[in-house]
Each structure stands twice: as C-alpha cells, then as structure tokens.
C-alpha cells in the first residue's frame, strides 16, 4: 500500500488511472481482485530486492514519480550588451534551379555523421533505449564532430556561414539512421545553441554560446510539450506573469523534455500577455523540478517532465519576440527536425528489412518473392522518398528565409502518417522476430510514433 503513496502525484491525470476511462466501475469481484493485486505488487518489490532502490533519493529517469531539483547550471557568466541585437547568419541565397544535390560541405557532414551513426550510435542504441540515457561515449563522439556548433555563426565560435536548416536536416536524418533516441540526445544541446544564434540578443549570445562552442558543452533542452490531450503547442498552458520588478514568473508543466535531468539551460515555452513566448531558464533555478517521463520510444533521450513552480526569471530571459512570431518559427523548425529524424529512422527500417526478406524463407523460397511482402517493401520505399522530398523542400525554403509554414506542415503530416506506417510494416515484415528486442524494428516502431506528437526538443 505504501508503495502507491510513495509515488508523488504529478497533478490531475488526463483520462483515467491505469488507462481506464471514467466510464469504468468496479463490481464486488473487481474490488477483491484489486486488493489481491496490491498485495502481489508489494511482494514483488521485496522479492526482487527493489525496496532499497525505492527508498533512494537518487534520480532515475526510468522510474517516474521521483522528483528532484534540476542540475544546477555552471553559472553562465553574464557577458555582452543588454538591448543590443545578436549576430545573425544570412539566409542561403535562393536559387531558382530545382536540384537534389547537397553542397560539398553538406555532403562532407553527411558522410561523417553517417559513419558515426553506423559505428558508434547504432551499436549503443538498444542498451541506451533500455537505460533511458545516452552513454557518455556516444555524446562525446557527437561533440567531437562539432554538432552543437552547426547552427552557430562562425563569428560566435560555430561553423555556420549561412542559415543551416538544410545542413541540420541532413545531419539529423543521418544521425537518426543510427538511432532516433540517441540522435535526439545528441542534437538537443545544439538545438538550444541554434535557437540562441537565430533569436538571441547580444547579451544572451555572449553569455551562453561560448559554453556550447567550447570543450565542455552543457546539456540543454527545448521544452515545448505539455501533458494535455489535444495539446495545441501554439497555446501553451504554462504561464509567464510579469512580477512588476523586471522579472517574470513561470508556472506550469512541460512533458517529454529530452535531457531534462542534466540540462543546464532550458528554453521553455510559456504564454506572456496572451502570446506564446520562449524563455531561457538556467538549470537549478528555484522552483524548477524534474522527474522521469519515459515514453513509448525515443527513450535514449532521457525524457523528463519539467515542473515550473513560480520560477523567477529576468525579463531579459525572453528569447526573441514577444508577439508570438519567434515562438511560431521555433515550432516550425522543431517540426522540421522531427521530420528529418523520421526520414532517417525510416531509412533504417528499409535498410534492415530488405536483406531480411531476401534471406528469410517460407514455402521453399525467400519471402521477398511474394508480392504481398515485396509490395510492402516497395511502398515503404515510395513513402520514405515522399517524406524525404517534402522534408527537404521545407528545409531548403527555411534556409533561404522563405515562408515554409505550409511545407513543414505537409511534411509533418506525411512523416507522422507514413512514418508510423513504415514502423508498423517494419515489424510486420519480420513476423514474430519483429516483435522481440533481438531485432531493432520494434524500437523503430516505438520511436516513429513520436512524430506528429513531439514539439520542440530539437530544432534545425
């Protein structure tokens, strides 16, 4: 009984408990069974010797309900001029020519990241999914190739000469081909850095970017999701109220926040004066609490639930505009990143099922010789290429500074629907083997459901 009490409530849960709708009710037999179930549960905890762990204050992302303080930030030394606009990279020069060829720089990046995805990311994926955390070795490797600086202008220590949406998309795709969860984990800090590059004031850029382009890159998180059904990210419930003394007070809950437990810097979406706005919040701020929020997939990203209880930030913590335009652009660029991740994961599925169906035999020949199997693979290929082209179109437009709201919306719709179908078919093609963890397709099935749900988290 005490077990259930030790789990702190995380506020009113939308929907019922244990996945039950409010229309369900217990009858006498039901009550008896429930009592028996509670007894059984506590025995299990003791039998497996987990009682001690349950009493530990150590934060574990795998077990939701244990809320702790966020990681204290390293204390970013204030620098730069308040009120001075930040450095911006120019948009890519728009070309009128239809072209599917990446630039030389982009191709080089893709080649490097593809190798990393194959050699370092994929081998670590299954265990990271289990542990709900990215191993240091993987994160270090991604830092070594300079990922956080991808969207940061050279003038600020990064590698970007022009808007990096296209390069970022290609990199996210290549990394996700290794694993989506690890890709998200690796790309989260760079996403915050890119946000600072795109919208930061001089003060914000000078204060925070040196850390992201230095040797010891902090974990960071872009927190926009909220635990509401039919959540509209453009109307967050998290509130930002002016306190009248040059500060703003943040109140609310953010869900599925990647790297929340060790993030030293958060970008949080909240409604200020009726408009959605982005706020920079340093880790360890009073009132900021984090607990594990593991999900169906993308588990290696260490998903967490972030609670803001009267978190005070200076007005200068606003990132970008207060009229909702920056927030909307951030949402669109995040959605673009998720499309890229979907394409990479979809490619992983296609690459995996193709040799499998050619080797696996049934009825005396490879199952690939049967049209129902072959057509399923063909349709994966067709829809994957569709997803890819829509994503690239949106990315190229974003990089050129063109309006891309329509294109990213269409890309997202397709990537969500067809991406999930690819995940579904990936498992189906492996039959029973697709259902067990010996093969990675079940993980990609779980990961691909995130598309269309996740907001923020990553950004190109």
């Amino acid at each position: 009984m005490s077990l259930t009490k030790s789990f702190k409530s995380t506020g009113p849960r939308p929907g019922g408990k244990h996945g039950l709708s409010s229309q369900e009710s217990r009858d006498p037999i039901g009550f008896a069974v429930a009592a028996l179930s509670r007894v059984a549960q506590s025995d299990l905890i003791d039998r497996l010797g987990l009682r001690k762990q349950a009493e530990q204050a150590v934060f574990t992302v795998t077990r939701s309900g244990f809320r702790t303080m966020t990681t204290a930030s390293r204390g970013f030394a204030k620098a730069g001029k308040r009120g001075k606009p930040g450095v911006r990279v120019p948009a890519a020069a728009p070309k009128g020519v239809f072209d599917l060829t990446p630039t030389e720089d982009e191709q080089m990046l893709v080649d490097v990241v593809t190798e990393l995805a194959e050699e370092v990311v994929r081998p670590a994926a299954a265990e990271a999914d289990e542990a709900c955390a990215a191993p240091e070795t993987v994160l270090k490797a991604t830092l070594e190739i300079g990922l956080p600086g991808l969207g940061v202008p050279e003038a600020l220590g990064g590698i970007s000469e022009e808007r990096s949406a296209m390069a970022g998309t290609l990199v996210a795709e290549a990394l996700a081909r290794g694993d989506m969860g690890l890709a998200v984990s690796a790309l989260a800090p760079g996403s915050v850095a890119t946000a600072l590059a795109l919208w930061g004031t001089d003060e914000q850029q000078q204060t925070y970017l040196p850390a992201f382009t230095g040797a010891d890159v902090p974990a960071a998180a872009l927190a926009l999701n909220e635990p509401t059904v039919l959540f509209d990210v453009l109307s967050p419930s998290t509130t930002a109220t002016r306190s009248g003394d040059g500060h703003v007070v943040l109140q609310g809950v953010k869900s599925l926040v990647a790297r929340g437990s060790d993030a030293e810097l958060f970008v949080v979406g909240a409604e200020l004066d009726g408009k959605p706005v982005l706020f920079l919040v340093e880790g360890g701020a009073p009132g900021l609490e984090v607990e594990g929020d593991p999900g169906m997939g993308v588990r290696a990203a260490g998903l967490t639930r972030l609670t803001l209880n009267d978190v005070r930030v200076p007005e200068s913590a606003v990132l970008g505009a207060v009229d909702g335009t920056t927030y909307a652009e951030c949402v669109r660029l995040s959605r673009l990143a998720w499309c890229a991740l979907a394409v990479g994961t979809g490619q992983a599925v296609l690459d995996y099922v193709t040799p499998y169906v050619k080797e696996r035999e049934a009825f005396g020949e490879p199952i690939a010789h049967r049209q129902s199997v072959a057509f399923m693979v063909a349709n994966i290929a067709i829809e994957l290429q569709s997803m890819r082209l829509l994503t690239y179109k949106a990315a190229a437009r974003a990089a050129a500074g063109k309006d891309f709201a329509r294109e990213v919306a269409l890309a997202r719709k397709l990537c969500a629907d067809k991406g999930m179908q690819i995940g579904l078919d990936g498992v189906q093609l492996l039959g029973g083997h697709g259902f067990v963890k010996e093969h990675p397709v079940e993980r990609w099935y779980r990961d691909l459901r995130a598309i269309g749900i996740m907001e923020g988290t990553v950004l190109v």
């Binding site: 072209d99 990446p102 629907d417 269309g452």
Partner: protein, 404 residues
C-alpha cells in the same frame, strides 16, 4: 549546387501560360466534351496551332510529349532543369484543366513520346509533325506486354502486320499509330518492335470507339490489322533482334513517359484540391498549417492529409523528370512517381467529392468528373501493381523470374 525543391523558376512562365490555357480554353469546354463523347474537340486545333508556334519559337522550352527525348549531346557543367521538367510542369497544368482534352491534343500522343525515345535521327525528321497514337494492348494482353500476339512478318521491303489492338488513345483522330508487334514469337520479348503505321494504310481499320467512365473527350479505339503492309523503314530504331538487350528499347519509352502520366494525375488532383479548398472556406473551414490536424475540423484534417500526399506526388514527379534531365537512370524514381501519383490522384479526387457533398456529386461542378477522369491514371501505362513490382524489384535487387 544546393538542394532546392521549389518549382524551377525557369519554367514558371511556361507553366503559367499552360495554366492560363487550361483555365480559359480547356475548362470552358470540359463538361461539353464529357457529355458529347467522341465528338471531335474542334477548339483544340486552334490550341495545337498555338502550341506548334510556341514550339517553333522555343518559347515552350521543348515541353510536351516529345520533350522526353534524352539528350546525348555533350556534358555541360552544373545542374540542368531541362525539357523533362518543362514537360511535366506544363502537362500538370494542362491536366489541371482537363485530362481528356490534353490526351486529345494533336501531336501530343504517347506514340510521339515513343518516336522521341526510340526513333533514329532519320525517322525523327520524317515523322516530324505527325500525330502518333500508341497501340500495345490487346484483348488478351495488358500488363504482360511481352505476351503480345500481333505479328510483323518481313516480306521483301515491307513488314506485314496482323493482329488486334485495343484501348488505343486517340486511335481515331491520330495521323499514325505506333504499333507493337513481334517479329518472331518464338524469340520472346527481344523480337518485339514498334512500327509507325500511317492512317489510311490498307489493312488497318478503326473498328470501334469505347464508352468510358472518364476522359470521355479522348477517343479510345480498337484497331484491327489484317495483312497491313508498312515499309521496313517504319520500324522504329534497330531491326536487330538483340536477345541480350531484349525488351529494353521498347520499355525505355516508359521510363520517360511515366513521369508524364504522374503529372497528369498530379494536375487532375490539384484541380480538385483547389476547388475544394475554396468550397470549404465558403463553408467556414479554413486550413491552418500551424495547428495540429487533430485540433482542426475533420474536413480540415482530411484536406491536410490530401495536400501532403499531393505534394509528395508532385515532388516525386519533379525528381523523376530532374533525373532524366541530368542523364541519371530514373527507372526506379519514375515508377515511384507514377505509383504515388496514381493512387493519391484517385484518393484525392474521390475524397473531394465526398467533402463537397451533393455539390461534389452533382454535374453542376466538375468535381465528379475529375473523380471519374483520375481513375485511369492509376491503370494505363503501367498499373499501380506493375509500378509496385518495378519498385520492389529495384529495391530488393530481384529479377523478374525471382519476383513475379
């Protein structure tokens, strides 16, 4: 050299022109010829003359059925946006106007594409200006075109053709028919060649015209060949029976025309989407690109799904054409484009009828007509299932004996 998938700037004026033609010439007569099936669309002669003029002046950028010829000229640096892209873009706009009327455009037949793809330079010059239909399908042979039974027997300086061809688009109106026939059935597909048979050649007769579900403005004919003699110079390309190269020559046409058929489906679907968007707005439903589909009305969410599928088909079509322009083998991409466009074409046009209710179902609007026109685009020139077979074989690296 940088990724950019916006419609090529170079051809926007051309596409704009085609759009105006579609709007002002094709749409006004769309319903008329849908009702009066097989009546000759005389308005198209004027249009054809205009297009010929544009072709001459170069203003049409080589777009059209003949635009699919692969350029063997020397390599020029950089990325090309050439005649294949121009063709798909202008055909898309024309079919946004009316698919049946586009198919009835003089000198824009599939036979013209075949000539452009397979003819030698002498034939290309000789058949310039000839409107050519394509005759492949027979009563017993559809998808398995290697199984055709129409024969071509060499007799002196002439080939003698015998057989029955069905579903020949523009079979009645065209000036000549490109006929697939076999030189020797025992040698299999390698012996299949195409022959240009001018109308009026003794032994060739148009037997009947089909009554169809859609594209009624287009005449679809059954043509019978009884000891029909054609000069041997009318065999397109090489008369060699090359068992190794086999069927490839004839099939090469399809790599080039598949993106064009995809363009037809993309155009037809766009017509439905454009009108439906406006009808929905009139009913108070505005599509919001930033809010999640699930937070909008069912109609808006459905529209978003259709538009996403449409854009996918559009981009796959452009990719296939771009690869042809840049001399990259595009068999896989051409089939992907046709497969996607074919299936979403019908999904979109039929869903638009549903969304518009009785306004969509009634003949007062053109939505129901587009839903009837679009179906054939998933069938002719390689059915959906054949496209999936081609894609599957490519992706899986399987031959036609392994994956049937």
């Amino acid at each position: 050299m940088a990724i950019n998938l916006d419609d090529p700037k170079k051809f926007r004026p051309l596409a704009g022109q085609a759009h105006q033609v579609a709007m002002n010439m094709l749409r006004p007569i769309s319903r008329k010829y849908d009702r009066a099936e097989h009546e000759y669309p005389k308005e198209l002669d004027m249009l054809a003359a205009m297009i010929d003029g544009l072709s001459e002046s170069g203003a049409s950028e080589g777009a059209g059925a003949a635009g699919v010829r692969r350029d063997d000229k020397g390599d020029d640096a950089g990325v090309r946006n050439g005649t294949n892209l121009a063709s798909v873009m202008s055909i898309q706009e024309m079919c946004w106007g009316d698919v049946g009327l586009l198919l009835s455009m003089p000198r824009q037949g599939l036979g013209n594409s075949a000539i452009a793809s397979v003819a030698n330079d002498e034939q290309l010059a000789r058949f310039e200006g000839v409107w050519a239909g394509m005759a492949i399908t027979e009563p017993g042979t559809g998808s398995d075109s290697a199984n055709i039974k129409t024969t071509a027997t060499l007799d002196g300086d002439e080939y003698v053709l015998n057989g029955e061809k069905i579903y020949v688009t523009s079979g009645d109106r065209c000036d000549a028919v490109v006929v697939w026939a076999t030189l020797d059935r025992s040698l299999g597909r390698a012996a299949i060649k195409s022959f240009v048979v001018p109308k009026g050649t003794p032994g060739m007769r148009v037997d009947r015209l089909e009554h169809k579900l859609g594209i009624k403005a287009s005449d679809t004919a059954t043509i019978i060949f009884e000891d029909c003699r054609v000069p041997k110079e009318n065999l397109l390309g090489s008369p060699e029976v090359d068992v190794k190269q086999g069927f490839a020559g004839a099939m090469a046409t399809f790599d080039n025309t598949r993106p064009l058929v995809a363009a037809m489906a993309v155009g037809c679907a766009k017509a439905a989407l454009d009108l439906t968007r406006e009808l929905l707005e009139g009913a108070g439903v505005v599509i919001d690109y930033d809010r999640p589909a699930i937070s909008q009305s069912a109609a808006a969410a459905k529209f978003l799904q259709m538009e996403a599928d449409w854009e996918a088909a559009h981009l796959l079509m452009l990719q296939a054409a771009w690869m042809a322009d840049n001399r990259k083998p595009n068999s896989l991409e051409a089939s992907m484009a046709k497969a996607k466009a074919g299936r979403v074409g019908s999904d979109i046009t039929l869903s638009c009828v549903e969304l518009a209710g009785s306004v969509g179902y009634s003949e007062t609007e053109l939505l129901e007509k587009w839903a009837r026109d679009s179906k054939i685009l998933d069938i002719f020139e390689g059915t959906q299932q054949i496209q999936q077979l081609i894609v599957a074989r490519r992706v899986l690296g399987l031959s036609s004996t392994e994956l049937k």
